[in-house]
């Protein structure tokens, strides 16, 4: 139906909808191209509203001719009106938290894996694989298990223990590679040429990355078919950031929603800041870095979509910020204290970035700001360690009264 071809983002060369990810001519990235001509906008909206309670309600905007099914349904995560957080940030009235930790494996990676896996099955693959900083590992292992496919998951050996355990439990072939994510990724790029496997973020990358658009669609639907004024999202490879932009652009262009494209703010950790650094320097390419940050899920020193992320931030009047590890811990705490949402380090980066922009006074109190929380705090517990006090007492009233302070507000 609407899905048309793969098209090179650099030179425009088109290819059939196969497992390929780079242009044979210029090595540019391939992207799914759709033909939306003749789409009845009101009918499309009705179809979405009557659709399944998962990302597949948006399947007209995903690379399938027939709506796929998943063994592990993903999406339709809460959009929380974070009034207390907004108040803390100087009286912002419309800060929204898109809590994508509320997915089957507790990160936004369930979205991209659902799309990549469905496409892999359609193309006849029986083994799926990935290079991961952790969250993707969880998602690939779980969705492969649910679908009854074999899987290989490649991770840097020094990942958080929680992310390793929450991968191995699903019965995948788990391979720890001595090196950082960029080393893992290089190995997997080489392997993808040797194995007849669907590497979700390599040879299936054009399909995989489309899954991130559903994070924009959902927010617009949850806001009553309206567009936010600003979005804040983490940047690792830049894929999520650019696909969020694609999601908003598509619906605005098609007329499903009305309004201007939101300002896009990207969030990176200072210990892995290639895109933020290029933004500050006014460059249109990224110099790779060796990551050293507690935000391991964002620790990609060689970001594949860096140039496009820079285009998105500049083209929408946004920015790309960087925050320190201490600011990340403070961001996790701020979100937890004001919303009851416990996010992983990537979410700490995002909230710290929101705070930075708010502190500069750039955000009008009435603006609608959507903050993308992409992962779960229980997966990066070390970041919370030592950030609060715990009282240990004997089981007596005296001990309690002596050692535990009374809240000031009581």
């Amino acid at each position: 139906m609407a899905v048309d071809a793969l098209k090179c983002k650099e030179c425009g060369q088109t290819y059939p909808l196969e497992a390929r990810f780079v242009c044979e001519h210029c090595f540019g990235p391939l992207e799914v191209q759709y033909d939306y001509s003749g789409m009845d906008v009101e009918e499309a909206k009705r179809k979405i509203q009557a659709g399944p309670h998962s990302i597949w309600r948006y399947s007209d905007f995903l690379p399938f001719s027939e709506p796929p099914k998943s063994a592990l349904d993903t999406g339709l995560t809460p959009l929380i009106h974070a009034t207390r957080l907004g108040e803390y940030l100087g009286g912002l009235k419309n800060v929204y938290i898109k809590n994508d930790a509320a997915n089957p494996t507790h990160s936004f990676k369930d979205r991209v894996v659902s799309v990549a896996l469905a496409k892999a099955v359609e193309l006849g693959y029986t083994v799926i694989a990935c290079a991961s900083t952790g969250n993707l590992a969880n998602a690939v292992a779980a969705h492969a298990a649910a679908a009854g496919l074999d899987s290989y998951v490649f991770i840097p050996t020094d990942l958080e223990e929680q992310k390793i355990l929450a991968t191995g439990v699903y019965g995948t072939e788990l391979v720890g590679v001595r090196g950082n994510y960029d080393d893992v990724n290089r190995l997997c790029t080489e392997l993808s040429a040797e194995k007849d496997w669907a590497f979700v973020n390599i040879n299936m990358r054009p399909y995989y990355s489309e899954g991130s658009k559903t994070l924009s669609y959902e927010v617009m639907e949850q806001l009553g078919w309206e567009v936010p004024d600003r979005v804040v999202s983490p940047i690792a490879s830049g894929s999520l950031f650019t696909k969020l932009h694609k999601g908003y652009s598509e619906w605005i262009d098609l007329g499903l929603v009305h309004g201007a494209i939101p300002k896009f703010h990207g969030a990176q950790a200072s210990g892995c800041n290639p895109v933020a650094h290029a933004f500050e320097e006014g460059k249109d390419f990224c110099q790779p870095v060796k990551p050293d940050t507690i935000a391991k899920s964002l620790a990609i020193g060689n970001p594949a979509d860096g140039p496009y992320a820079l285009d998105v931030a500049r083209g929408t009047g946004g920015t790309i910020e960087q925050v320190t590890d201490d600011e990340i811990r403070a961001g996790i705490k701020l979100l937890a204290h004001t919303t009851g949402v416990f996010t992983e380090t990537a979410g700490g980066v995002t909230v710290a970035t929101l705070k930075k922009i708010a502190d500069r006074g750039e955000i009008d109190p009435e603006e609608r700001v959507v903050v993308y929380i992409t992962g779960e705090g229980l997966k990066t517990l070390d970041a919370a360690r030592g950030t609060f006090e715990k009282y240990e007492i004997d089981a007596t009233l005296d001990a309690f009264n002596t050692f535990v302070p009374t809240p000031v507000t009581a």
């Binding site: 090595f27 900083t133 960029d182 290089r186 790029t189 973020n201 390599i202 790779p288």
Partner: protein, 92 residues
């Protein structure tokens, strides 16, 4: 001296389907690539543009991205491997 250049899947048709080719060169990455282009002229415009690597091509010497070294001027030791890979892979 002999340098092994690993060829990405996308370029293998140009080198007769080989996954790696041996070139006789010494010096830096630029000189190794020139030796490669001498043997397979079509590779030049596939990998490079105006004397620089294309934006979406990554080159590694002994598994290290040359952008951490001296770029195209990175020295290539005798017997080491040069790997050419598409940049647009992976990601979170």
């Amino acid at each position: 001296m002999a340098i092994t250049v690993k060829i990405p899947a996308q370029l293998r048709p140009v080198v007769g389907g080989q996954a790696a080719v041996q070139v006789d060169a010494s010096g830096n990455v630029s000189q190794v690539l020139d030796a490669l282009y001498d043997e397979f002229p079509e590779l030049r415009e596939r990998i490079s543009e105006n004397g620089e690597l294309r934006r979406f091509v990554n080159v590694y010497v002994a598994d290290e991205d040359i952008r951490f070294g001296d770029g195209l001027n990175t020295e290539v030791a005798d017997g080491s491997e040069v790997t050419i890979l598409p940049a647009v892979a992976g990601g979170a």
